[in-house]
Symmetry: C3
Subunit: 362 residues, 3 copies
């Protein structure tokens, strides 16, 4: 693809020879041959251009490219989304022949839409429904009565359990598990953790853990993405829900009954305990933990590693373990760093006071 065509796709324009053929987009430092298009849209990447062997580049509107630095370059009209657009242009999407692979196992009453692929080693159970154009790759399991929308991409090893409902254009990454049972037990008598909560002491033991079954399912909205090795549990009396457009990274755990809004970003290794409610547009950074029944207001941003134990208002920025408003957390850490000085100050004051007393008693 030549520079001119790429520029057109990016809604941009070429400065220099627009017929140069491009093989791949690269970081400036890795540019070597003439087919390497240096992606220098953000400031750091743009600065690194001058030390690179790049001969062509994509830059943001408004920068000044030194004379003679490049043979030609594209000025991207939409710098914020240009990288995403470039990765669409050069992506080699997963392709599979449509139809059912000879090594797949599909129940007689499953309903497959037009152009569906079922890969080798995959199982589609009784009553499952799969929408047109959806690619089920290899070694996937689709449970009884599951319903999957159109244009989805189900990577190898994904487990979609019975009666789970999945929207259109959903991407499920390898070994993700949608619809395992919730982790819910009760004890015939007071449990040790109830005792701990009520009295601050352990006054009972758990002689029997009685299982609460999960009658609900999981519902994923359109355009949801679920990362590798993530798991989303089914609900007890209702469905666990993930709203449309929400993106879930790898190794995320979402408990039973959880309700997640639309366009959220749930980063890797986040854990959301049972019955928590996550508003629209919430960002949970890596390793955040949300306690059970906690409500996280819309558009809130929760910093990496935070532990949320209580309700959070919409538009909050929280950080820490336990999580507190970001401004408090910053103050907290300033205090912590000055704590050594504080001990010294108090020591001095105590000594001075003692000397004072001594002086008086003389």
């Amino acid at each position: 693809m030549n520079l001119g065509k790429i520029a057109k796709a990016l809604g941009g324009r070429v400065v220099g020879d627009d017929t140069i053929d491009i093989d791949r987009p690269v970081e400036p430092a890795r540019a070597s041959g003439p087919g390497d298009l240096a992606v220098a849209i953000d400031k750091a990447a743009f600065r690194s251009l001058k030390d690179s062997k790049a001969r062509t580049a994509v830059v943001a509107e408004g920068v000044t490219v030194p004379e003679g630095l490049l043979e030609a370059y594209i000025i991207a009209a939409r710098p914020r989304t240009a990288l995403a657009e470039i990765t669409v242009i050069f992506d080699v999407p997963v392709e599979r022949p449509t139809g059912i692979d000879a090594g797949a196992s599909v129940a007689g009453d499953a309903k497959l839409g037009k152009g569906v692929t079922i890969g080798a080693g995959s199982s589609v159970c009784a009553g499952a429904v799969i929408g047109a154009g959806t690619i089920v790759t290899e070694n996937v399991t689709i449970g009884d009565g599951a319903r999957i929308g159109k244009g989805c991409l189900i990577h190898p090893g994904v487990r979609v359990a019975h009666r789970v409902v999945i929207g259109d254009r959903v991407i499920l990454h390898p070994n993700a598990v949608i619809g395992a049972d919730g982790f819910s037990y009760t004890t015939p008598k007071q449990s040790n953790f109830e005792s701990a909560k009520l009295t601050g002491r352990i006054e009972s033991t758990n002689e029997e853990l009685i299982r609460v079954n999960s009658l609900g399912a999981v519902v994923l909205g359109d355009d949801v993405e679920v990362g590798a090795n993530s798991s989303i549990d089914r609900g007890t009396l209702k469905d666990t829900i993930v709203g449309p457009g929400t993106k879930i990274d790898n190794q995320v755990q979402i408990g039973h009954n959880v309700q997640i809004g639309k366009n959220c970003m749930i980063c890797a290794q986040v854990g959301i305990a049972g019955s928590a409610v996550i508003g629209d547009g919430v960002v949970l950074a890596g390793k955040v933990g949300v306690a059970d029944h906690v409500d996280v207001g819309a558009n809130s941003v929760i910093g990496a590693g935070s532990g949320l134990h209580t309700k959070v208002a919409p538009n909050s920025i929280m950080y820490g373990y336990p999580a507190m408003p970001m401004t408090e957390a910053a103050m907290h850490w300033t205090h912590m760093r000055r704590l050594g000085d504080l001990f010294k100050d108090v020591e001095k004051l105590t000594e001075a006071a003692a000397k004072n007393e001594e002086g008086k008693s003389k």
Copy 2:
């Protein structure tokens, strides 16, 4: 199923028409049609009944249902376990035809009990033994010489490695891994982490990591449950053991040689490092980390996100990173919140002392 039969199963009684047919149990807010049985056993759910469209409900012994609020209701005799019992009544258990699916691969010398199911795409390796009534669903792997008890349910994608031993009625959720090798290496010379521990400085590098193989296996007791994407490593010279009745949530990591007692609850994303010992009835809340060789006494409850680095006595309640007794942790956080005031107090005292000194020197 009508109200009368449900009441009987719950050991309770019906107030009103016991012939009403019920389709499904629901949270009060979701009750709409006449077949929706509102589950209003706990206080919050009971309070929400009055704002719901529920016409039938299950309530706890001792509450007063306002006249005319419901057409009929069940008073549950055992409120603590009633929800669990309701979910048993309405559950639609996983069902599979018994026998070996045509798409499964079973070694000639594997021994399958009566009524065993082996689903499509599953592999049972040489010498494996599977007890009567156990359901191995799709895409499961059972390693060489593994022994699985009776009445187990092995969900899709589970990996049971060679020589692992599993009790009766065990439930393994999708993509759980039982019996991967432990993470254990040694270095011919002092490693950098040994140096860090001994001297507080890094005085050596790791030029070679020599693997310690795992000769032991994993043993899971009866009635154990292991969550989706969880992993339990085999032991080095002995087996890693999980006691009967212990429930393990999703994405839990249990290291080599770990010994876990009976009836524990290990919540999601907990990590237990090698050779730790967890007593009977211990509750580890979500994301708890237990360091290697640490001993957690029976019935202890460890709060979410805690990091346990040292031995914990039985019946302890611990919280924090690093974990401390709950009462200390609470005090700690009270102190933290008052730290700003403390800085101000000390500043005032320092100023006053300076003024004092100034006064004296005049």
Copy 3:
């Protein structure tokens, strides 16, 4: 195998009868029969010998075995590596018949080296290359154009995505995922997390999350090991790289573009966010989180549960959330424990000062 032969393999010597036949190595406390070889190399194990029923043992050079305690014992010449060597002697390696199992699915243009095994239910996609002697066990997926070296062991349920490159002698544990897409999105306008970073307030919402595709792959060096349920994402414009000899435990998450050096130890449940750089020989203990773009210098040791948000120099020892140098962290916790006393001291000083003022004003 008799004691003499074991001693020879360990480069050691036997004291006593070297013809005694050994069945298995055990911890001293578990020794019962004559075939049990007590492994008593480290100090604690050696001390426990005297309370055991062990009749044979392996001990370290330099210890004094009491007369009559054992029938015979091996003195290991290389105590640091003796356990590893013993586990090699007694290991029962995974064995599979070479060739393609009837239940496997291998693309016509895939290239398999000499002595390769492809197990039941495994899929090898178009253009994949697998080196001589590599064992692909059951239910594994090897993506389009993936290249795997010689002598690797790929455990059940592993997903190797398209174009991933894997060195020689690599071990991938069950359900590990190599080469899922990175978690990378952009928004057409300022996102809420950008707003949070820039202004400390949420002044925008995420109305659309635009996907950045992952054009890069993953490259694993020789002798790398990746644990069960771990995931390593492919890069955006370049490959995600794990250097030779690096060992990765279970449930580790490695983000897109991450570059990891050689001989690192990455313990269970560690998360490394996108574009982080980990130097040679680094040890990340369990549950460590490394923020995106953070650079961790060679040979550094990071304590369990730490959260690294900023660059770390080589040879650092860090601990805490947020992580700080170990010495500071220790000081920090000393301060924390004495904080209650500090409050009391300041209270006393304040009271004394007030009394003083009162005295003056009289």
